[in-house]
Point group: C2
Chain length 397, copies 2
């Protein structure tokens, strides 16, 4: 795979898009059986499990969109020449073998395979048991596409057994055969992977994202950004969980923002100063500041200006995504510089925390660790680099 | 530290350079006592332990050289704007807290502290016991320099206890307080760190570096590069351990190269084809191909052209540093593209595998893992990044 051309890798992605469209009815049929067998699960779980014609179209579109991205392999990231004439080039290379462990969302099979293969890697997929037949069929179609493109079908492997020991084997790194593990799913899956993996992991455990309304916030933007950050989709990791309001702007900003949130059906929990302005807001407990609700619930705290917001986020945040709303450029730049999260925004919704919205053509997850990649993990983030040094006979004195 | 200015960090490095020069006699005196106490150690060990006036000058020069490098913190690595008007900036940020575990080489105290602090990090140092008083004194002087620059002295911490449990504590990550561990020293130290660390590690275990002489190699360059790669310093990780010679060039290249190596006192071990050309070469055993001698010993194998060299390196190498000697541009580019090592050279010595030679102003080690950094780990490699997103009220549809 390391020597496969970018053109061949793109051919495989286009072939997979065509094959998935062509075999849509067979995929939907297997999926219907598995959804039926899942029985009385939660609506959210069934929603993730279920494929529809529109979702099949989305998978095919994602494949084409990822194929359309520039080829990262071989790209020169940096180049310099030393006084002794040696020319140095840092060039991107594939990471190697990436294991992706995910829950019962069959479309992740295609997203994960496409992003890993686009970057020249091999991938080993372990999907959730409730839709393993759907995922396996999708993986088989992808393998067939690799063959059609003249690439080894084994560059994509799918773990067929439901035995949980298989996850342990992947996390062990299989004697150095696996270079990176990416868990994609809920907190218990990610926590297990972070705890047990003996190889590098890209992941995030929590998405405790904050919206900070500065005293110089525009009220209309404050309302729009807060409501969108919290309510557009409450179950995604980039959804806001805490609203921080500058004390100096509390009386002006809280009433219209709280009204807009209530209108959308959001439950509000506030500290004493917030409740002094709006007594209908329930009291927040200490644990609310570090809770990822993933639901229409929002904690609200009053803070002492941008520095108060920075301190609160450093204490309770999860280094995922935080935004400031302000018309004050100095406050904005102070927040952007001092908040040490993977994604820091100004006057924009936290729900832009997404590889597609970054223009990556897709993502395999969001990383909040500090090494290798922070934020959305797309095609480039699944590469590493090596340094090429070209000389004319130089030896070291 | 994250908000300390680059100017203040540089001031600390310059203050440390001045203080070390000023206190040179006191440093040398403590060091003399420790060298005397070390008793009958190997010459190489005593050499690493011993400071001299010249080495003190080197430490001061390294501090100034690192201070002179551009400030990586806040540097914009990439910038783009999306159709919705959101502006994205990837900016470098410090990693956080870096633990550096090293052996009895007091000068590493200063190199490690300087590189970590230059990149805006805090560092925890654990040095070898035989020169712990020398290292502690150097660390205290560095802390004093941090104070003089208006930075917290605690940004550099030195583990004073000799209790080995302290290493275990650092490797545990101290409940998330440590972001990265860098071991600098021999194989047993690195192996322990790689095995036990529960946080990210940048390191290399082996430096099994190859020189490949292509049939189109210039004989003079082949001799110079082979001798320099092996013999300039045999104890460094970038020293060549195996020489691969294209079968088609064996009769032409082996005799002069072997003669030059023997003249420098290098022991040669070859495979059957090599010994058919030069029967005075001792037979190599299978384990020679994967042995890091760190001594004047070289294994020599005949290979089938550049592809044979690529296969041999993939099988026996350690992904550290490998070089090709050839006048054939196609062979050179094939080797550079297909050898998947941290550093791949053409017509240059493997001993250029060094952060100083890369122009980094210094290095804290060489990494052969595949994530975050490959090759010399300098100031930039001790940073991570975050993404700043500037909007004008955008919400996600």
């Amino acid at each position: 795979m390391r020597e496969a051309s970018g053109e061949a890798r793109n051919r495989a992605l286009h072939a997979a898009a065509a094959l998935i469209a062509q075999r849509a009815e067979a995929i939907l049929e297997v999926n219907r059986e598995e959804v039926a067998a899942a029985g009385e699960a939660t609506p959210a779980f069934l929603d993730r499990l279920t494929l529809t014609p529109a979702r099949i179209d989305d998978m095919a579109a994602a494949l084409k969109s990822i194929a359309a991205r520039p080829d990262p392999v071989g790209a020169v990231i940096a180049e310099w020449t030393r006084p002794n004439g040696l020319n140095f080039q840092r060039v991107r290379t594939p990471i190697g073998v990436i294991a992706i462990i995910y829950e019962s969302r069959p479309n992740v099979t295609i997203d994960a395979a496409a992003i890993a293969i686009k970057a020249g890697n091999a991938a080993i997929l372990r999907g959730g048991s409730e839709c393993i037949r759907t995922s396996l069929l999708l993986a088989r179609l992808f393998q067939q596409s690799l063959c059609e493109a003249g690439l080894p079908a084994t560059a994509l492997q799918f773990v067929e057994t439901l035995d949980r020991a298989a996850v342990g084997a992947l996390l062990s790194g299989l004697d150095g055969a696996i270079d990176l593990v990416i868990p994609r799913g809920g907190k218990s899956l990610v926590a297990r992977v972070q705890k047990d993996a003996r190889v590098a992991v890209l992941s995030h455990l929590d998405g405790i994202c904050h919206v900070y309304l500065d005293q110089d916030a525009d009220a209309a933007k404050a309302i729009d950004i807060t409501v969108n950050s919290k309510m557009r989709r409450t179950g995604v990791c980039g959804a806001a969980e805490s609203l921080l309001i500058d004390r100096a702007g509390l009386a002006r900003l809280l009433p219209p923002v709280a009204a807009a949130l209530r209108k959308e059906g959001c439950e509000l929990r506030g500290d004493a100063q917030v409740r002094a302005v709006d007594a209908a807001i329930a009291p927040a407990r200490e644990e609310d500041w570090s809770t990822e609700y993933l639901a229409p619930v929002l904690s609200i705290a009053a803070v002492d200006g941008v520095d108060g917001a920075i301190v609160h986020i450093a204490r309770y945040g999860s280094a995922h995504t935080d935004t400031i709303v302000t018309e004050n450029a100095a406050a904005a730049e102070r927040f952007l510089a001092a908040v040490d999260s993977a994604i820091v925004l100004c006057n924009a919704s936290t729900q832009f925390a997404d590889g597609g919205e970054f223009g990556f053509g897709g993502e395999i997850g969001i990383a909040t660790g500090r090494l290798h990649a922070r934020g959305p993990v797309g095609v480039e983030e699944l590469t590493t680099y090596k340094t090429l040094v070209r000389g004319a006979g130089q030896v070291r004195p």
